[in-house]
Symmetry: C2
Subunit: 329 residues, 2 copies
């Protein structure tokens, strides 16, 4: 009744923003991501008949009620499917800042899904695991897989066709993502709330949803052809469209700080000077540079020199979520 | 055959972005602006039969060919209407940085329109002057008037119903606009080019155009009711939508620098702490704070403290474009 799993964070190159169903966490658009080796969550789950409620230890500390409730909602799905009636003791640890736009909910819910399903003796395919992880966090569906991953929007009401699949394994391509950390604070407005506000108030929401299909198709081709130029262009276009959508909500949501914008200009200047590098930004202020391995040194040193950049995290393509321990008894 | 006029710059509170006709400078959306007393252009025009081409002295220096050509295109309209065949000697001086997102083309073409029309002995109504100024620069149509001004989008193909009119005179309301200058460099991409790129490539262009009518209507009401809260909210919403539109172009246009974003966050923090102040930003990196006179001291001191803010220009509502000299001979 106990299991421990590890899952890596991922960064969307074609962004996910907006839900077509809030309860089932069904995305309004598909997305394509890169799984990151350097950022991960390790989570253990133990179902225990002596517990009177679920317990969550997050990064070594008893979690807040709000966080524990989110875990309980997720574990209720696992309990419902497996028939287990017990509460669980969950311990989860990130090796990087939580809720700061570094995709901690992606790795956290992918690790939780694998650990909880295993502890509950559910035998799930990767696709089923991806669907389960999605219930915890939309981006977690992608962290089930390593390398380059596509999340399908799906069209079924019950979400059975909204799952992730691997486009290319980690060894496929020597991609690098350099994360310039500009703040370790939690973001002022969470992704779920931000997405809801955009859907309800932005005049650009329809344009965002309508444009996604083309972006996904072009990105799939860029992956197949290992076309880093095209991948980079699409990456910036999708990131700016996502932030533009958030900004055009009412009131406008601005996840950037000053250093984020300086990072954008720096990466574009580097590119003009001949270094093949592109940016992406998630729902947070960190600036992320996409390049191939031979540009890492120059890009890293240049980003480090921007006033306000605290440190650089270098990421390579990461692996599938994996089981670390399993004690059936 | 000589005249000299002064016109003030203006800042759009409901933004203009996108043209429905490039040659006639017909806007895709209407706009509402505040004319600014502290920023102005003084322009003199003298038609002279001894000249073999138009001459432009800009801020005391012979202008570049590109700039002189833009003036010639404008003067050709005046020559066509008035029947004058001579070239002109034009001297224009701004009391503030040129082409840095401080609306220098608005005050410049409003002053030029008034000086050139007067020198050419055209007797134009304010409405006709506004239509003429629009041919030089869309925002110049608004600088013909002082106070709060609305530019009509119009629907006629020839632009006869695309002109500005005054919503309220400068004395109507004790508004202040504080401009925090973050850079005096020229912007990397001009407004006309930026608008064209947005129209051609942004998936949000339709949403932008469709939303403008409601913004204009609500802003007119806010002016009538002297509702600074509502005016401020609309002001931020319109500015963020405009920048979101530019950012969602392909490639994305980013007029902001790091200080611009820090300025946004600072103004929002000030507001959370009870100071009634809102921001707007034009096609450039300057951050502009809208407030009433009693908030000026606090807002000004707080903005001045942001690293990267070079100086603050305090503006009150400015007056109509006006004639300074007229020598018919």
């Amino acid at each position: 009744m106990k299991a421990k799993a590890r899952a890596h964070a991922n960064i969307a190159l074609i962004k996910y923003w907006g839900k077509r169903d809030r309860r089932l966490n069904l995305p309004a658009v598909g997305s394509i991501s890169l799984t990151l080796d350097a950022l991960y969550t390790i989570t253990s789950v133990q179902f225990d008949k002596n517990l009177s409620e679920d317990e969550l230890i997050l990064n070594g500390q008893m979690a807040a009620r709000r966080e524990t409730e989110r875990i309980t909602i997720f574990l209720n799905i696992v309990r419902h499917v497996s028939g287990i009636k017990h509460y669980a003791r969950v311990s989860s640890k990130n090796n990087f800042p939580t809720a700061a736009g570094l995709a901690s909910s992606a790795s956290a819910f992918a690790a939780l899904a694998l650990a909880a399903a295993t502890a509950a003796d559910l035998s799930l395919s990767k696709k089923e695991l991806s669907i389960l992880a999605r219930r915890g966090s939309g981006s977690a569906a992608r962290s089930v897989f390593g390398g380059l991953v596509e999340m399908k929007r799906g069209s079924a009401k019950n979400g059975r066709d909204a799952f992730a699949l691997q486009l290319a394994p980690p060894e496929y391509w020597d991609l690098r993502l350099l994360i310039a950390v500009t703040s370790e604070s939690q973001k002022p407005i969470g992704s779920t709330k931000g997405m809801q506000l955009s859907k309800q108030t932005s005049p650009y929401y329809r344009g965002w949803v309508d444009g996604a299909k083309k972006d996904l198709k072009e990105m799939r081709n860029a992956v197949i052809e290992k076309d880093i130029e095209k991948m980079g262009e699409l990456c910036e276009f999708s990131a700016l469209k996502m932030h533009a959508l958030a900004m055009s909500s009412n009131p406008g949501i601005i996840y950037w700080n000053g250093t984020t914008v300086e990072g954008i200009h720096t990466i574009r200047s580097l590119r003009q000077s001949g270094i093949p590098v592109w940016f992406t930004i998630d729902a947070g202020p960190q600036i992320k540079a996409l390049c191939l391995s031979d540009a890492v040194k120059t890009v890293s040193e240049t980003l480090q020199d921007i006033s306000g950049v605290k440190r650089i995290i270098e990421c390579r393509p990461g692996y599938d979520a994996s089981l670390m321990e399993h004690s059936p008894e």
